[in-house]
Symmetry: C2
Subunit: 335 residues, 2 copies
Amino acid sequence: MKLASVKHGRDGKLVVVSRDLARMVSVEDIAPTLQQALDNWNEVKERLNTRFQALDSGELAGEPFEQSRCASPLPRAYHWADGSAYVNHVELVRKARNAEMPESFWTDPLMYQGGSDSFLAPTDPIRMPQSEGFGIDFEAEIAVVVDDVPMGLSADEALNHIRLIMLVNDVSLRGLIPGELAKGFGFYQSKPSSAFSPVCVTPDELGDKWQGGKLHLPLVSRLNGKLFGKPNAGIDMTFHFGQLIAHAARTRPLVAGTIIGSGTVSNKLNDGPGKPISEGGVGYSCIAEVRMIETIQQGKPSTPFMDFGDSIQIEMLDENGLSIFGRIDQKVEKY
Amino acid sequence: MKLASVKHGRDGKLVVVSRDLARMVSVEDIAPTLQQALDNWNEVKERLNTRFQALDSGELAGEPFEQSRCASPLPRAYHWADGSAYVNHVELVRKARNAEMPESFWTDPLMYQGGSDSFLAPTDPIRMPQSEGFGIDFEAEIAVVVDDVPMGLSADEALNHIRLIMLVNDVSLRGLIPGELAKGFGFYQSKPSSAFSPVCVTPDELGDKWQGGKLHLPLVSRLNGKLFGKPNAGIDMTFHFGQLIAHAARTRPLVAGTIIGSGTVSNKLNDGPGKPISEGGVGYSCIAEVRMIETIQQGKPSTPFMDFGDSIQIEMLDENGLSIFGRIDQKVEKY
């Protein structure tokens, strides 16, 4: 089943979307918003799925689905926690500044809590008061949405709580990160509003590409229309989503609609850092990572962060080249 | 106007409460939940206030108000960010471990984002899988609820967005904090679900005690029934709430219902650390702070953190000794 929230009020209007993303039909009579569907998932999932199957089979004509009309699937959420499951990415960041990475990072997930009250729509501009010094960067990631998760469950149990999967652009202000982390309380101003893919899907839509709490397909990022990265999200993911959820739920329950992110998707190459697309590699899912490679190789970065007018597209295609989640397509603009 | 959410479903049922906290009446016909009231504040505030005045004057009889029936005013919220406005408290923590505090802490607020999806009710137990090693502590604080706040506003402008004020117990797991902060991403597991006072109030209810974005009254904490602290929340608050809101909104808008906390309330004494109640001081708003004093004075802490069975009450009284927000009254229990 594929779901989306058409822009409307604070929480959007819930629709189901055909597998090919061509058509949609309202499910307002079953659940007006995605949060309300998640609040009552067991009561509504069958009816939502019946409507979806009727749409997808052509039995229901529906209406054209336009990604530009979509809000993020949850336009606002009660909890958005982002892990750093691709430890390779973390190791590179450290390496670029000659810092050792603690051995525990391979066994104990890093996770931060992000602002969840004002998500951007997938085609909304990223509006910032300044670009100079802010180091505006995208981060292409996978995210899951869970139902009610009890405190203290195991990683295996946690896998059974994943209801939906989507993509996310976890916008980061690299220029603000060092000062903010130095204060010791983690990210806050350096992580402005994130945007999610137009469509979220139930795990069964991914077939055998969803296995062991990982999504085994390339995540495609295009910076200013040019292919920037296509690392496989199923490779080099040190912690699967069940482990990330269990980490989040160690000392508190998580309520339905909580979003857990994977962190920036990153693949190694021959046990070392990956290569840019231009050198035949799978590239990267954020600008910071290519800048680290440049720093390691040339002593300083050469790829600039995003400026006003720059654009980023994030998408994932299935084996037939069809977009699974629709496309995050954002431009940086002056606020 | 005083408001509360009686436990019901995920978001409670909104009621207005008489000034003396003796009676309440439903306002479900105006706004079923506090979040819905905040989503439409300008449309509903007059009607809510008319109902409140009718109840408070006795024109409406209402029904008995029982604090034990209350959820936190927002049982779940879209954003909960907690500042550390009483820099004195931060300085003490650092002093206890012989760490310098950066000068910038006096001009640039510390703020972290907390879990907002699963707040505890004001009389819910604090249930934890273990007490040994967790260092279970309370933190008595003031919090404000804002309406929609645009990105990049000034501290003065931010003051006009404060709609409601309440108390909070920002439960902390001191034993988990050092390891978690060492990872560099801030608090996560070390800050389990917080609880808020049964009642929240509009700023006008506080008269001249609400001035310059600060609440000028003692915040009373009782540990196991014994007075533990009564520092004045209006004293030694380095950043007023307008400054904290503006800090939170620097790179993102805040949506209606966002909660901003003051951090642990703490008063200096003769420009040095305060004294315990037993020595004639105003005491403290968390156990960690008295342990710091003990460490500074005696080389090691002697007051233990909370264990199963321990209780904490947090309250604020007006000049006539009447409770303004009702009482947070929680016991630590085994999960």
